[in-house]
Each structure stands twice: as C-alpha cells, then as structure tokens.
C-alpha cells in the first residue's frame, strides 16, 4: 500500500486516495480545429512510461483536493507531490490560477 503525501494533509495511506491518470493532459483550446486523430490522441493516448511518471491523485477520503505526484512506475517510489497551480506543475493553469488570484484579491 503506497504512502502518498497529500500536499495539504501530509502522508496518508493509498486507500484514502483515488487515482487520476497522467498529469498535464491539457484540453485543447479549440477542439474543432483538431483532426479526429489529434482529438483521439488527446482523448485516449497516454505516455505510459516505464519510469518517471507525472500523475494526478485526489485525496478522496480527505480534503478532496487533486494534486500532482511524480512517481516511478517500476520502483513505485514517489519523488514528490505538489499542489496544482504551484511551482513545478508546469501547467499553464498554474499561471492562470495565480493570476486570477491576484486579480481578485
């Protein structure tokens, strides 16, 4: 049973979490500009690496937050977990949320 560090609640047993698949799959800004093959790539194709994997987990029985985890898919070792929208997620959404935070504050 994995021990997963929720960025808010700290390390908790795997059974408190649900898995959300590969992280960083961005929904295309204009789906209608994509060919069927490109759309299929977004929908179904995943990198599925043997080794380092960025993935989403949800602290389902806890704070209900989704967060990112870097985990090795062979050793299952977790390198780090991080809040979405914080440094390191590498997602544009990160910038967006910070910006919108600022704007509304």
């Amino acid at each position: 049973m994995l021990l997963i560090e929720c960025p808010w609640c700290g390390p908790r047993a795997e059974t408190e979490f649900s898995y959300g698949g590969e992280a960083g799959i961005e929904r295309p800004a204009d789906p209608y500009a994509l060919s069927d093959a490109e759309w299929a790539d977004y929908l179904f194709f995943r990198s599925n690496p043997r080794g380092a994997h960025r993935e989403l987990w949800n602290h389902a029985q806890g704070c209900r937050r989704w967060f990112g985890v870097e985990r090795d898919t062979v050793s299952y070792r977790i390198e780090k977990s991080y809040r979405l929208g914080s440094a390191g997620s590498g997602r544009p959404a990160a910038a967006q949320i910070e910006a919108s935070e600022e704007k509304r504050r």
Binding site: M1, L3, G20, W39, W66
Partner: protein
C-alpha cells in the same frame, strides 16, 4: 507416561510436565505436554510416519522444526472450524486437539497410491505434458483421475465460526524476528526512544536461543531472553508480538504481520479474535529472521528418520524429545556437530559424524570426539536403508566429485540421520522489498545486499552464524536504524557470550555421489513435498528448460507449501552444476509474499458478512422495512423495491402502485439521488461546459433536465438541475452516479479550470427527497399545509421554491419522473421520517400508495424517460437517445467534439426506441437481443434495455437500442428467444403514455 511418550527425555526442555495434554492423531489417542508442538508431541509418542509425498506417495517423517517442514502437513480439527495444511512443527499443542495426516489413502501408513513410487520413472518431471492427449476428448477423464489425488487437507465444511481483525499501526522500527539479533536490535532501538514493534513467528521469543546450551552475560541463553523480553515489555512504545509472522514486505515500507491469537482451531466462544493482521507502516525495518538449514541430496534422503541436524537439536533441547536412539550425523559444516553433542548428551548413541570435509570439523569436532563420537572426515552418506523408517546408512569415501559413482565401504545401523548441508539466510523479506541478493562463496549462501527500501538485515539472516556475531550484529542493525531516524543511539553494550567455537569452513556438497550415476541411482530428493529429484532437474535441463524459472516450473521445485525453504538453493546449485555455471549465474528468483502461508480470513479481517461493504440507507429506511418492502441493491444503497399488500407478488404490487400514481397518489423515497450545491461567480460558465444545454438561459427558480456526457461523447449521467440563485444551482444526479459526478466536476474544476470560481458541496445525505406523484399530489400538499401557492400559474411545472410544508422547511420542486402532476420534497433528513409519516396520514384519504424502484421504473418507461446505466451502457451518446434538442449549438461542452467523430455520425448507430411485442402480451425479457428478420442466421441489430407490463396501458411495453431505430418506426423486427421462434416486435416511439405531456402540467 513412558508408554505414551516413549521418546520423551526424563528431564529438560521448555515443556510443562505438570500439564499433560491429550490429543489424537489419525484417530489414535496421544499425549504431550504444554509447550510442545504437535510435531514434538508426535515424536515423543514414537510416531515417525506422518504423511506421504505428493506425487510418488513415499512415506515421510518429520524433517524440520519450523516453517520449513515439508512433510508433516496436518488437518487440524473438524467441521467448520477445521484447519487444513498446518505443518505439525507450527502447531502449538492444545488439549483435545485432533490431527490427521493429509496424504495417503486409506491412511498415511497404508497408502494404495504408493504404487506411484514403483512407476516413478514414468512420472518424471513434466510427464503430464507428454501424455493424456488421446483420444482428444478424454483429457477430462484423465483429469478427473488426477484431481482425485489433489491437495493436502480439506476445506472446512461451513462458514468460519471465528473472528479476525486488522490493526493498522505505525512504528519507527519494526524488527522481524525475535532471536538473538532481533532482541538486540529491538532493545537498541527502543532504548534510544524509537517506537518499536518486535514480531516473532514462534510463541516464545528467543529463536534458536530456546534450544541453545550457550550462556549470555553469565546466564543460560533462555534466561537472558526472558530478561530481555521483560525489559522490552517495560518500555513505553514497544510492542511485542509473539506468534506473529511478518509475511509480507510491500512498497513504501508497508509490512503485513499475521498474528495467531488463539489456538489453531480458534476460540470456542465467537467473541475472541483468532488471528490478527497487523498492517504496519514502518519508518525503518530490521530483518532478523534467522536462517534455514539445508538438507543434503543423497539417495533415499527422504526416508522417515532423516532430519535436519538443527531440528534434532531443537527436539532434544527445547522439547526434551529424543528423535532417535542411534544416529548418524551427516554434514559439510560444523553446525551439525552440535546436534551430535545434543544427542550424546541426551543419551542417544551417535554412530558417527560423517563429514564430507577432509579436514572434518573445528573445535566442535574435538568436543564431539571427546564425548566418544567417531568422526568420519572425507566421507559421505550415499544411501540409507529402510522404508518406513531409516534402518541404516551406507557411507562412502568422498573424492570431491559430485557426479561420479562411489562405492560405499561402510554400513551403519541407525534409526536417525541428522543432516546439514549448510545454511541459507532467510532473505525472503529483504527480497520482497526489492533488495538485491549476493552469493557468498565462503559461506555458500545468498546474503542480503543493497536494500531498496528502508531496511537492514541482522544476525543469521545476514550470514552471521555464531551467537556472539549475532548479538553484535543485532546491536549494529538497531543502531543503524536509530541513526537513520535521526535519533541518538542509547549506549548499549553487546552482551558477553562464551567464546564462539572455532569453526572449519563449510565446503560445497550439492549432490552426493551414489553407486550409480545421477539418472539411475535411487532418488535423491531436492524438494521433498513435490518429489523433485536431482534426476528431474537434470531431465529438465536436458529438455531445454535451462532457465531457473523454467526448471522450477517444469519440475515443481519450490512450489510446495514450504515454498522451497529447504530445496531451492540445493536445486539451483544442482542446476548450476548440470549447466556448468556458477550459482549466481543461474540466479535466484524474486521472493513474493507470503513468507509462510496466511489465512484468507486474516487478510480479509472484519470486512466480511454484514460488514463486507457498507450498506447505505435513507433516513426513511426503517419505515420501509417495517412496511415489509423487499429491497433492491443499487450500488451500496438498499432501496425499497415494491410495497406488497396482503401477500401480493411483485407484479401485482407494481400494477397497483402504478395505477395509484396514474389515478390518485403515490409517494416514493427518492433520497438516494445525488444532490450537489454549486455556487460562485463562474458557476454558469462552469455548468455550460459540463452540461449540454444552455444553462445560462435558465431563470432563477427554474428547473431543467440535463445530461452529462463524458469527453468521449458517451452519456455519463443525467438529472434535473435547478437554478436557485443568480450564482447558485442545485444539481441532482442518479443514485449510482452521485459520487462519480461530483468527482468529475471537481477534477475539471481543480485540474483544468482552476480560474473558475465555483464551490461544489454535496448535499446528498443532508436532503431527503420524497416524491409525491399523481393527480392528487397537489391536494396532498395543500392538506399538509404549505406556505406557498401551489397552483400551476404560480408554481408551474419545472420550477423550484423554498417553502414550509407541514410546518417544516423544504425545497419544493415541481418536477415529475412519472409524467403525472408531481412534487419532489427536499427536506433535512432529520425531519424526513416525520414528513413521510405526515404524508402517509394525510394521503390516506387518497388511498396513497408508497411505491418502490420497480414502479418508478415502469412509470418512467411509460413516459420514455431513460435510466442511465440501464438504458445506456457507456457506448450511447445523447444523440443516440434522441436528445438532440438538449445539445446546445451555441457553446462547447465536454464531449461535444467527440460527437463529430465518423463513428458517432453513422446513421445506423443504435438508437433508443420503444418496442411492442406484436402478440400484445409477451413481456420481453430485458437483455433480449433483437434481430432484423426471423431467419436462423439473422444478425443482431439491437437489444431490449427495459421491459415491463404497463398496467395503465394494459399491455407490455419495452425500450431498447436498435440500429438506425429512429428512422424505422413502424417496422417489425424480431426478438430472439432461446429455443423458440423469434417473436415479432414493432418499433415505436419510446413515449407510450401521454405523449404530449399534458398530465404533468396540470
């Protein structure tokens, strides 16, 4: 006593002679003492034949004293509390225990299957792959015969009467193994302030110290153990778990321990716990599980009376049992000399120590010779005589060549051959944790090498054979764990022991040469339980099964209940010899849990029976139960299925309930629907992306039906939503979809659209939902007393209002899932039972009928409303369901792009339609496949998803998915029926009742 226990020594041992215990073995009355194992008691009673081997049915005796025992596999107890397959060596003796040998028919002593031994050569490794193929259909007959001889013990004949539980725990240091090294490690860690768990598979801590003549700090080893245990017990945050096997080392330093809390057959009263599973998250682990002695591969080395030398010591020293009167000790290392000394000390005659090493033993050899035990250095036991018990040993000079033939020159009478082929550290947990193993050529064993998780090995499990080394290594390991925790190690000194005897090194002896070559000599067993011999391994290699995994699988080496604890290393060494490779080149296998077998029950824990899975019930559930409603399982929920009156069956009750709703009044508990409060400045934008319709056009106070597709365009869930404020919506989902929909929305919100300000709060449990449906529903509410006008102008269809009803605050919805005038009352669940009762009282004048899920299904089917998950299956789009009108053209929503894929645009996709059986009376079974014509080879074109008898229409109705169905209304297709002619069915509109929807608007 002497008569009952002829082999019991007059004194000594850790048994309690004041507590004799009666038990039975194979129906025969026996006796032992408290402190015995079943094995030691049997041995004391002179029982030497305890079972038969799996394939060849050879008579077998006790070989070991612990988890490694391959032969003495017992059926303990009777009936539902029976316990199959316990090694007698691991069964603590209890009064009244009944034990049976598990192999051999009619009995282990007289087994007609022993004929297999005669034909053994035909039954070589993999023989079954080569035969039983003719005639083709006969395999099942052959197999029937093969299966007759399968297995050891018998499964109990009823549900387990005992309890099991889990215990989740955390510690700084888990010490697996409570022998010399483990005790020292635990002491070091605990005294340094760490939270410690010490677990040992035996009922007493001490491991080999319990059978040791050594002294520690000037006291006998066993006394030192007792003092150490007492000291640990006194420390805060130190948990001692005897009778507890650490059987699994999983990822992220999670370990599982099975603890035996009651005797092997459990407790007499059901209250106590039989076994407990400790689920441990340890920051550091010390592995001190000791080592396992290896047998030697000589001819007929499986005869009863051939035992591990260490086990002989254990029986003599710990249990005061003499395993034989005249022994030959056969070894390639010094440790077996201790067995010889023990035997001599207990009054047995040791005919000789046969030591393959030309130089013989070290100091222990000198000691043995001083006791008058002859040592035959440079010799081997090449064969033993006797069938049901060893009667003699043939001894030959050893030239160092394993594979040549030898002639035995000496024959000694004996009834016991104590063997030692060296020691293998129990590296199982280290390996399970992903740790590497390294072959040590001087110790002739695999040692734990680099660890991949936070663990350190100690003691004999780390290749430290002597007591002094073990104690020091335990201290070192404990200190290492402590320092990794960042704690300061308490000052602890290693205890003093009598100096270790100087030993001569072990020398390899993987196969003992015999009078004939390895293929033709009498069997030399490697895996006792599975009858894998040296010849089998040679055969496998000859046939091309050269990878160690192939050899193991082809010969069944290591696949017994002892999981190769005795045989694996010997087998690999023989294979290496055969292939001309080194042992590390042959490799080792990865160990998987369990170290020793664990019951299904303890792994399952409490979550069995009524606690197997939570049952969710509504606030009104007790009323439904009292009303005698049969329940339907919907996910975790229990929902009333129907409410029979006066012995009605399902059909009668449902017909009555349906008519009540259509003609007067029905009421249903719809509380299981998912309910979500969504609010925030961006709530409209958010819901526009989730739902397909134009959410923004909804006015405050309005309701709308909405569907949620997945990003693949397939329908995921549906439900009514209400706009309760400018920036607030109340969303409902299906019963089964509640959690999934909330997760779906939160995931998009948090991971993709964090810029949208929306808060989602589940109200599923807070609100109970009571649906009052039927022409009299408005009158019911009026009668209950409602503070808002209920007429259709001021409270029209598809609107929502807060109200006070019967003196209670409610959210009142003018919606309908039945097509009748209906209200859905959402009320604080605390008040729901009271509201329900008031409704039943007030409704009496309308002959109100409570109705269940079945009537709800019929009513909605008459109206052509879908049930997501019944009429859809993950491959159905909203377009297939005829919901084009719900799909906004003005916006994007999740799944919209997918609807434009070529397959989703096909005209002949399966579409949702109504179906009428043409005979006007057949209710088509749900799941019926539809075919285009009534010919034999007709192709399937759809299937029936819902089907009922409609009481108000007076005929059956059905709904289904039919290829291109919407364009085919009026066409006749056929319902395939097993073993009968296809039934003609007409495709019609899915709306059967009140197609213009007038009734719900009144």
């Amino acid at each position: 006593m002497a008569a009952a226990q002829p082999n019991r020594l007059p004194s000594g041992g850790r048994i309690d002679r004041s507590r004799p215990l009666a038990f039975s073995f194979d129906g025969k009355a026996c006796e032992g003492f408290a402190g015995d194992t079943l094995a030691s008691a049997l041995m004391a009673g002179g029982v030497s034949l305890v079972g038969r081997s799996f394939k060849l049915r050879r008579p077998r005796g006790i070989v070991g004293s612990g988890a490694e025992e391959p032969n003495a596999i017992m059926q303990i107890g009777e009936g539902a509390a029976a316990q199959p397959n316990l090694p007698a060596t691991q069964v603590e003796l209890r009064g009244g225990l009944t034990a049976r040998a598990t192999r051999g028919w009619p009995a282990a002593r007289f087994d007609i299957g022993a004929i297999n031994d005669v034909f053994g050569r035909v039954l070589g490794a993999g023989f079954y792959y080569k035969t039983f193929m003719w005639p083709r259909s006969w395999w099942k007959h052959y197999e029937h015969g093969i299966r007759k001889s399968a297995g050891f013990g018998q499964a109990p004949d009823g549900p387990d009467p005992d309890r099991y539980e889990h215990m989740n725990t955390h510690c700084d240091v888990l010490v697996a193994g409570g022998g010399a090294a483990g005790l020292m490690a635990a002491m070091t860690a605990a005294k340094s302030g760490a939270r410690v768990i010490l677990a040992d598979e035996q009922n007493e801590f001490g491991g080999s110290l319990l059978a040791s003549a050594a002294s520690i700090d000037g006291v006998p080893a066993a006394d030192w153990v007792a003092a150490a245990v007492a000291e640990l017990q006194g420390l805060e945050d130190c948990v001692l778990l005897p009778s507890s096997t650490v059987f699994g080392y999983h990822d992220h330093n999670f370990l599982t321990i099975a603890q035996r809390c009651a005797g092997p057959t459990g407790s007499s009263d059901g209250g106590a716990v039989r076994e407990r599973l400790w689920r441990v998250r340890a920051r550091q682990v010390v592995l001190a599980q000791g080592s396992l002695e290896r047998p030697l591969a000589f001819c007929n080395n499986d005869r009863p009376g051939v035992m591990l030398a260490s086990a002989v010591s254990v029986y003599v020293e710990r249990y005061a049992v003499l395993p034989g009167r005249r022994a030959v000790v056969f070894t390639n290392n010094d440790s077996a000399y201790r067995a010889a000394i023990s035997l001599a000390g207990a009054g047995a005659e040791v005919a000789a120590i046969v030591d393959s090493r030309p130089g013989g033993g070290g100091e222990l050899g000198v000691r043995a010779q001083a006791l008058g035990i002859p040592v035959l250095a440079g010799h081997v036991v090449s064969d033993v005589a006797g069938r049901r018990r060893v009667t003699g040993a043939s001894i030959a000079r050893w030239s160092g060549d394993s594979w040549g033939a030898v002639r035995s020159t000496i024959r000694m009478d004996c009834d016991l051959v104590a063997v030692s082929g060296g020691w293998s550290p129990a590296v199982h947990l280290h390996s399970q944790a992903g740790g590497r193993l390294a072959w040590d050529e001087s110790r002739l064993c695999f040692l734990p090498a680099e660890a991949r998780q936070a663990h350190v090995s100690a003691g004999a499990g780390n290749g430290k054979w002597s007591l002094g080394e073990c104690l020091a290594d335990g201290l070192r390991a404990g200190a290492e764990a402590v320092s990794r925790l960042g704690l300061k190690t308490a000052a602890i000194r290693a205890p003093e022991t009598s100096p270790d005897a100087g030993e001569n090194p072990i020398e390899p002896l993987w196969r003992v040469p015999a009078a004939r070559d390895a293929d033709r000599c009498p069997r030399q067993f490697i895996d006792f339980q599975n009858d894998t011999t040296v010849a089998d391994i040679r055969l496998a290699a000859r046939e091309g099964y050269r990878n160690v995994e192939h050899v193991k699988r082809y010969t069944a080496l290591g696949f017994g209940t002892d999981q190769g604890k005795l045989g694996n290393i010997n087998g690999m060494a023989v294979l290496a010899d055969v292939l001309g490779k080194t042992i590390p080149e042959v490799g080792t296998t990865t160990f998987r849990p369990a170290y020793t077998p664990v019951s299904f029950g303890v792994c399952a824990g409490e979550s069995v029976g009524e606690l197997y899975d939570p049952v969710r019930t509504t606030a009104i559930h007790q009323w439904h139960e009292a009303a005698g409603a049969p329940m339907e399982t919907v996910g975790q929920w229990r929902r009333p299925w129907y409410f029979p009156r006066n012995g009605e069956d399902l059909h009668a009750a449902v017909a009555r309930e349906c008519l009540a709703v259509r003609n007067s009044l029905g009421v249903m508990d719809a509380s299981t629907l998912g309910k979500i409060d969504a609010c925030g400045p961006d709530v409209v934008e958010f819901l526009e992306r989730i739902y397909t319709h134009n959410v923004g056009r909804m006015k405050v106070g309005r309701c709308a039906y909405g569907v949620i597709p997945g990003e693949d365009g397939m329908l995921k869930d549906d439900g009514v939503m209400a706009r309760t404020g400018e920036r607030r919506f109340y969303l409902t989902t299906t019963t089964g979809g509640a959690a999934a929909v909330l997760d779906w929305m939160e995931k998009w919100l948090q991971t993709e659209w964090p810029e949208l300000e929306v808060y989602l709060t589940s109200l599923t449990d807070h609100y109970s939902t009571i649906a009052a449906a039927g022409p009299n529903s408005r009158r019911l509410l009026e009668k209950l007393g409602c503070d808002i006008p209920l007429d259709k102008e001021r409270f029209p269809f598809m609107t929502v209002k807060p109200a006070e009803l019967a003196g209670m605050r409610v959210m009142l919805f003018r919606v309908s899932f039945s097509g009748e005038l209906a209200f859905e009352i959402n009320i604080d669940s605390n008040n729901a039972p009271a509201m329900w009762r008031k409704i039943m009282e007030a409704g009496a004048e309308f002959d109100i009928a409570p109705y269940g899920t079945e009537t709800m299904h019929v009513l909605r089917a008459e109206k052509g409303f879908i049930i997501a998950g019944q009429d859809t299956d993950g491959s159905v789009t909203p377009v297939d369901l005829g919901m084009n009108w719900l799909l906004s053209k003005e916006k994007d929503f999740l799944g919209k792009r997918s609807l434009q894929r070529p397959d989703c645009l096909r005209e002949d996709r399966k579409q949702w339609v109504g179906l009428l059986s043409q005979d006007g009376r057949t209710v088509l079974p749900e799941g019926t496949q539809l075919i285009g014509d009534n010919g034999k080879a007709a192709k399937m074109c759809g299937h029936v998803t819902s089907s009922y008898f409609s009481a108000c229409l007076g005929h059956p109705i059905a709904l289904g998915l039919v290829a291109g169905g919407r364009q085919r209304k009026g066409e006749t297709i056929y319902a395939a029926q097993a073993g009968r002619d296809p039934l003609p069915v007409q495709i019609v509109s899915p709306v059967f009742y009140d197609p213009r929807g007038k009734r719900q608007h009144v």
